[in-house]
Subunit: 394 residues, 2 copies
Amino acid sequence: MEIAEARRCIAGRLAPRPAVMLPLAEACGRVTSEPLRAVMDAPAFDQSTMDGYAMASADAGPHPLPVDQSLSTRMEGIPRGTLRVATGQPVPGWAHCVVPQEQCSIDADGLRISDDTSLATGQFIRRRGSSFRAGNEVLPAGTILTPGAVALAASCGCTELPVRRPVDALHIATGSELIAPPALPVGWQIYDSNGPMIAALLLERDIPCRGEKTGDSPSTLLHVISEFMGDLILVSGGSGPGEQDHTATAFEDSGFEIHISGVNSRPGKPLIFATRGHQAAFGLPGNPLSQWVCFQVFVRVALAAWNGLPAAELIAADCDRGESWECSGGDGRPTWTPARAAHDQGRIHVHPLPWQHSADLLPLASANALAFGAPDSQTGRIPVLITHHNPSPL
Amino acid sequence: MEIAEARRCIAGRLAPRPAVMLPLAEACGRVTSEPLRAVMDAPAFDQSTMDGYAMASADAGPHPLPVDQSLSTRMEGIPRGTLRVATGQPVPGWAHCVVPQEQCSIDADGLRISDDTSLATGQFIRRRGSSFRAGNEVLPAGTILTPGAVALAASCGCTELPVRRPVDALHIATGSELIAPPALPVGWQIYDSNGPMIAALLLERDIPCRGEKTGDSPSTLLHVISEFMGDLILVSGGSGPGEQDHTATAFEDSGFEIHISGVNSRPGKPLIFATRGHQAAFGLPGNPLSQWVCFQVFVRVALAAWNGLPAAELIAADCDRGESWECSGGDGRPTWTPARAAHDQGRIHVHPLPWQHSADLLPLASANALAFGAPDSQTGRIPVLITHHNPSPL
């Protein structure tokens, strides 16, 4: 199956998840399932934007003016006159403007305004409803909740928001060669890096992930998959067609329907995608670089679909590497290359970080993007999937 | 003080924080304080990259070949011959190449290789140390730990990494007009949105944040600041020079030294920055949009400095809005405007989201960037600070 077809297949098989109400702090970073409508005007009353004095323009003279210094926070029934107001405080209906305190002086007789002071109508008054009105949609469905969006919801009196229900994930590392510290590798043993990688990729997206190791045992693998009650299973290794590859069989024998078995992608050829009811499962290549690529190119499509969003698209970027690198496999499969993306003078540049082999994790230490194929010979641009925030969020 | 000078002042007053060892899952997203050197070669032995048969090129004929089907995982003492190997398994020193199993057939007499099969030296063998050698620096100090970097560390047998010590923050909302649900606003009361905003901005960066409300009481504010034992205090409101503004006094009376008191920025004029030993404190404008801008432009500089990193720089982006908007205040202060950044054909475009007033949260619902001033009349480009991941991390 071609890459684009596989991505369409994954998106098409997964419906947006049900809505759940989550407190604002937990909802941050998640996706709204319904629009949020304001229940009141914002601001809810005419208010001063300065520390100063509210006055009707007709009250500007003669000086000095009698002044009410009480900093009243009442909304109504304030007698017409010159009224002291602080930033954010209500301005009475009779007021035409606010004069900042820096342009005023007070003495025993009252208030004097500097000669060149503006008394323009509406000056330093924020009108009721000037941000939005009760009933306005302030957050559309499908909003990724940034801190700014969370603050907007809080300002409307929300303490929780309807978002797509969080995903519950399981990672299964297969292969009896995998060990964890403090054990030291013996023979062909290696430290498992796929488990920590998947946990970190999911944690970045606020998705908790349990980890299991099933060694080379098909029956253990089958048992773990059969018993799984959560949403997403990611199996590292065993997803190829070899006789030692048990992932496809375990998916089928535990009631999953396989929709993808092998993709024309390098790395990532032995990808499996399967569903069982609302659950999704991926068989991922056991080599860590391959697994990282498959997560970015395929698993993210599932996460987007569950959130009711389109998958992240590849963007065109300038390729700033003169020399060529291996952009396709011996069998012509188009190649993904980790890359470092940066911005310069309105343009996006990527520097490819070619890999030695599909267990080569070194390029991932500095990658924040994934380039596809070779640069266009005319434009020098290359399609790129952004994988991490750039510049840094710090 | 000018904006650039204020950013330099903040960066210059804060040293990189001490190192702490954190488990990989907690270290993800944080910044390494020391380089990581590999303790072993990667791979640690010559290994097959395919399921197939290891052979010396001289062993290719005559057919059929006797074959050892045992899938040995021993590293040494394997007799020369044709040896079955699985992906990732050791290849004996005498082997010149691996032939994939798809190009072989086995019967009772032994193994036959297809006629057109390549036997190139080194084929499908991943050589010991081809990714990196023991002693190589694989993660420099100052690396922001992505999932790929975490996987690289895990593959080296690390379970924890030295990172800059996490920050412990406190947000103080001042102002007696602030309420929280389920209370309904009376008079000039409003829902606090600054607390949820700051909590979310810090949570995005894995910084836990306690929240306090001190109303209009200078003594409560002073008490809370005096008692604070953590790293970062952010006070919303009261940071101006007015008689109702108590933040600067509270900082000074609790032993903080004030380095910045007012910046030539719109919004953000009444910014305070102060330090007490290793602690930092900011007085932020009480209006939510202003607070968001000050966090992005100033507080992030402190977080970067504590991590030993340079502050995120503004980048140049094409401005795709034809009509003009208010790019400076009446007093000439340069203006920050929330914006929506997107990529197209190798270029970065921003669409400004002008604000009505500094309490206007609506533009923040869709902002992922912050534009500064007006587009250049020649190039149409505008300086931009990226505030959120784009495209989405999903």
